[in-house]
């Protein structure tokens, strides 16, 4: 058999691949050299594990412009973070403003609370490109609006939400941001951007392993935890501590994963968000320009430029999304993702429901040559349609 070229991975919005070398190195070294149960005992291994978590909190706090790293809480993923935030913050009858571009990790908790607590939902209008009309916020705000929750960077179209405008008009409402796609790729400063709750996942643009994530909770906001249990602190008491981060971190944490996440975040900070963004924008522009040359191909999302991220949704006339994804993988080694991307609401907003789209999502480690291979492959699939 002739040598197959290595696959071109264009599913970074699902999880980033590859990771910076330091991620695996850090994790392997720790696994081999120390026990990983932090804050539980007073021996040196437990202290070392505590230091791993502390350093990770400090690194993430610095990345997000948060001055007090005790406000960074670790969870297993952004889904858990969003559930803690939404289920903890929303009270019976509260009004919530969201967008038509939310992932199910926001929509499902909201729909659940609609049923269980009678919360009321309003939606900021969304254009067919997935761009959210944030200027409509003042019209939707009510005296009982508790929360505004938005997907910062769409995992379907790559469109970005203008957080500054939301923060400017939010009044007494709290601003919760699902930064699953944007953390590590867009500049985020919780203090300057007026974010009250920032939910992030570790395994996408922050380059950590799966099973890592967390949230930032603005000082002064107290939420009931979703899960309670051992924290290593206040052990003489049978009630959960009420201070961050311990209140929300019951159970032995994923110390190994968090160490890997910290190495990923260190890579982001050393490389620089501006450099990461520049590279991703160059690749995205190259992809969008090439896609525009392919007859019968439709792009769903904003045009090239700084107002979008590296996530591109397409369809090709004459072939289903699932067949397209399969043909690209099997015949060309191009790994994209077909379907709804866990965001049926977003696909309704851009009129691609229920079939969905083929999503090509780029990352810092992709190259121009890989983009060109993808474009050539799409052109070949098209010629066979």
């Amino acid at each position: 058999m002739p040598d197959q070229p290595p696959p071109v991975y264009l599913d970074n919005a699902a999880t980033s691949f590859p990771k910076p070398a330091a991620v695996a190195e850090t994790m392997a070294r720790l696994l081999d050299t120390t026990a990983l149960s932090p804050g539980r005992a007073a021996h040196r291994y437990s202290l070392a594990a505590g230091r791993v978590i502390f350093a990770a909190r400090e690194t993430l706090a610095a990345l997000f412009g948060c001055r007090d790293s005790s406000r960074i809480v670790f969870t297993n993923n952004v889904t858990t973070s969003l559930n803690i935030g939404l289920q903890g913050l929303l009270r019976p009858g509260d009004h919530v403003i969201t967008t038509g571009m939310e992932h199910n990790s926001v929509m499902r908790p909201l729909r659940l609370l609609e049923r269980l607590r009678g919360i009321r939902l309003s939606f900021l209008p969304t254009a067919a490109t997935g761009e959210v009309d944030v200027d409509a916020l003042p019209r939707l705000l009510a005296s009982d609006t508790r929360l505004i929750v938005v997907n910062h960077l769409s995992n379907v179209t790559g469109s970005l939400v203008d957080l500054a405008t939301l923060a400017r008009f939010k009044g007494d409402a709290l601003l919760m941001v699902d930064a699953a796609q944007s953390a590590g790729s867009e500049a985020i400063d919780v203090t300057a951007q007026g974010i009250d709750f920032l939910a992030f996942t570790g395994h996408k643009s922050l380059f950590g392993p799966t099973g890592t994530g967390g949230f930032y909770l603005r000082p002064g906001i107290v939420l009931p935890p979703l899960v309670v249990g051992g924290t290593g602190s206040n052990s003489e008491h049978e009630v959960q501590p009420d201070f961050a981060p311990d209140a929300y971190e019951a159970g032995t944490p994923n110390t190994l994963g968090i160490a890997g996440l910290a190495a990923g975040v260190a890579f982001v900070r050393e490389t620089g968000l501006a450099a990461i963004r520049r590279h991703e924008e160059t690749l995205t522009t190259r992809l969008l320009d090439g896609l525009g040359q392919i007859p019968g191909l439709t792009v769903y999302g904003p045009g090239p430029g700084p107002h979008r991220g590296p996530v591109v949704s397409i369809r090709l006339a004459g072939i289903s999304v699932s067949d397209l994804a399969f043909a690209l993988d099997r015949d060309h080694g191009i790994l994209g993702r077909g379907g709804l991307h866990c965001a049926p609401a977003a696909h309704r907003s851009i009129a691609t429901y229920p079939e969905g789209t083929l999503r090509l999502s780029l990352g810092y480690f992709n190259t121009e040559a890989e983009i060109d291979s993808c474009l050539a492959a799409l052109d070949r699939v098209r010629s066979r349609c």
């Binding site: 505590g50 201070f243 311990d246």
Partner: protein, 97 residues
């Protein structure tokens, strides 16, 4: 500002600050290091607390500087003790007036 009811002279005595959790112990360590204040991170003495965590140990003549630094960083000291010559732990009061 917190003031502390302690003799300022160097008595050679050691003081112990128990904080909310390991996060705050390590934050305190970072701040104390930054200020060049001598200290150790040690297991919480059993006589002070049943908690299984770590505490900050430091020379008692630094107690004023240590408590001021932690207060300025909003780090709550849940318990503060002085180890007496006899080996007992005597509580210290922090006056956050």
């Amino acid at each position: 500002m917190s003031t502390i009811t302690m003799p300022a002279r160097d008595s050679g005595e050691r003081c112990y600050a128990v904080l909310l959790s390991i996060h705050f112990v390590l934050k305190a360590e970072q701040l104390l290091k930054g200020q060049g204040l001598l200290h150790d991170v040690v297991p919480v003495p059993r006589a002070i607390s049943a908690d299984c965590g770590m505490a900050i140990e430091f020379p008692c003549q630094e107690a004023g500087a240590v408590t001021a630094l932690l207060a300025a960083a909003d780090i709550e000291i849940t318990r503060l003790y002085r180890r007496t010559a006899g080996g007992d732990f005597a509580p210290l009061t922090i006056d956050n007036g």
